[in-house]
């Protein structure tokens, strides 16, 4: 059974539609890549999945016992204030906040979970460092660890590798793939079609033509061919 199902989804701002009549569904354990040109509405779709923004029409259903607050989220280049004083540990722990409900303080399990996720992202040695003094790649790891604290099931990643160098990018992709192997469903926005095809199980292509299907279907689809031609045309 699908954990997320979108039907007849129309998204936009101020009654101006950006994406029309979108259908897709995500099963537990999937690795879905969302691709498309700048401004095609990828981030908007993700915000809608997170209920940060209502859809203009259509529905998103969560199934299989997935609750809305069980989704981990890695934002696209958070404009976290540049001078925000926060240590890595404080940020990772804040991912557990939703579990707390009204309880004012973190309990032992949540603290252990934060430590464990820092371990997983190999940032334990940075735990007491100030976030604003870290490199871009390290910051992404911190935010990923925070997202992992918020979920055991689904991760939504909005361009997790933008601004990272090729080596760190490859590490990041590997990290995400490993998480997927551990059973976490991944929904990732990416500009890097090659990587998307390399790692994902499903592709959602947003643009003039919407495509949703498995990776293999996408490889042979018309959308991809047209997209490739467009890109070539753009480069020429």
């Amino acid at each position: 059974m699908a954990i997320i199902t979108a039907e007849h989804l129309t998204l936009g701002y101020d009654s101006q539609a950006i994406i029309k009549d979108l259908h897709f569904s995500v099963n537990a354990g999937d690795y879905l890549c969302i691709v498309g040109a700048n401004g095609s509405g990828k981030s908007t779709l993700m915000k809608t999945l997170l209920s940060l923004q209502p859809p203009m029409s259509g529905t998103i259903r969560f199934g299989d016992g997935l609750k809305q607050n069980e989704i981990g989220y890695l934002p696209q280049q958070t404009v976290v204030q540049r001078d925000f004083p926060a240590s890595v540990r404080e940020i990772v722990l804040s991912g557990c906040q939703a579990r707390c409900g009204l309880r004012p303080f973190y309990n032992k399990e949540e603290k252990a979970l934060a430590e464990q996720n820092m371990e997983r992202m190999s940032i334990t040695h940075l735990a007491d460092r100030c976030y604003r003094e870290l490199s871009g790649g390290q910051q992404q790891r911190v935010l990923l660890a925070r997202a992992l604290c918020a979920t055991r099931k689904v991760l939504l990643l909005d361009e997790p590798v933008s601004g990272l160098d090729p080596k760190v990018t490859a590490e990041m992709y590997q990290l995400i793939k490993d998480l997927n192997k551990e059973g976490i469903t991944i929904i990732m926005i990416s500009h890097d079609i090659d990587a998307a095809l390399n790692y994902s199980s499903h592709i959602l292509h947003i643009g003039e033509h919407i495509f949703f299907g498995t990776r293999d279907q996408y490889l042979h689809s018309k959308t991809r061919r047209m997209f490739l031609e467009e890109e070539k045309g753009g480069e020429a």
Partner: protein
């Protein structure tokens, strides 16, 4: 030293110290959040609203100004936050409108209806803080203690939630934290603090009391907890020193405290610049 000991024997000096230190503590606690959320201007706007309310209360000859000023300021805090979020009108423009409007309105009312012979003195003391902190009644001291305790307790209980909402509001919302409710809570608490602080430094200098300790602490520390604790400690020390100096030297209380805060900021800036960040 002897002189200070002598002064401390007077109850009004003790009252002033208790109230001053508590207010400084409260305003510094939320100062960090306000500065980081780029909300510092809300403090400014609200203090002007409180000034307007204060002048109405003065004209109506209410025995207890707080009863009118507190609800009006809390209400405006909620309104300001709403307009800042929902409309396309720039939030800071709305705040500028309301605050300047309230300021002018308050002065107008005082001018037309006031029976006081020393009008400009009254206005000046509402704006820049008066010696009224030295003439506090026991009732005001108790109210201040109760409200500050409430602020501190709320802050401690919601510390982690305030952090989450301040650091990354959309992540907080996405994971199901009711960020709007906490923003509302922050606004209400700020309104309470501002009304309290008006007695101490007057409505024009409140922003200084809220912002300076936070900015000073941010020069020196890199974690939210350390910054919060440091700004609370700094603010309390500065308020204590400021009140003592003003009593001994006979300077205006509010401006003296702010001057000490500015000096502390300069010291922290130098330490942060040349020392190693903790």
């Amino acid at each position: 030293m002897d002189k200070i000991g002598l002064y401390l024997q007077y109850p009004f000096v003790r009252y002033a110290l208790i109230v001053g230190v508590l207010i400084a503590l409260c305003s510094s606690l939320l100062g960090v959040t306000l500065v980081l959320k780029r909300f510092s201007f809300i403090g400014d706007g609200l203090s002007h609203v409180a000034f307007g309310a204060m002048s109405i209360a003065a004209v109506l000859n209410l025995t207890n100004h707080m009863l009118l000023v507190l609800p009006i300021t809390v209400l405006s805090a909620i309104l300001l936050l709403r307009t800042g979020q929902n409309t396309k009108i720039k939030g800071d423009a709305a705040i500028a409108m309301i605050s300047v409007g309230a300021l002018a309105f308050g002065y107008l009312i005082m001018n037309i209806f006031s029976t006081s012979s020393n009008l400009s003195g009254d206005v000046c003391s509402t704006l820049f803080g008066s010696t009224s902190i030295l003439t506090l009644s026991i009732w005001e001291v108790v109210l201040c203690i109760v409200l500050s305790l409430a602020v501190v307790v709320i802050f401690v209980l919601f510390y982690h939630k305030i952090f989450a909402v301040t650091f990354d509001e959309s992540f907080a919302k996405a994971t199901g934290i009711k960020a709007d409710q906490y923003n509302l809570l922050i606004a209400v608490v700020i309104a309470v603090i501002i009304v309290l602080a008006m007695n101490l430094v007057g409505s024009l200098l409140i922003s200084a009391l809220v912002i300076f300790p936070a900015l000073s602490a941010m020069r020196m520390f890199g974690s939210f907890r350390a910054v919060t604790i440091c700004s609370a400690v700094l603010s309390v020390i500065c308020a204590f020193l400021g009140i003592m100096i003003s009593i001994v030297a006979g300077t205006p209380v509010g401006s003296t405290i702010v001057a000490v805060d500015v000096a502390a900021f300069a010291i922290c800036y130098v330490i942060g610049r040349f020392g190693k960040k903790a």
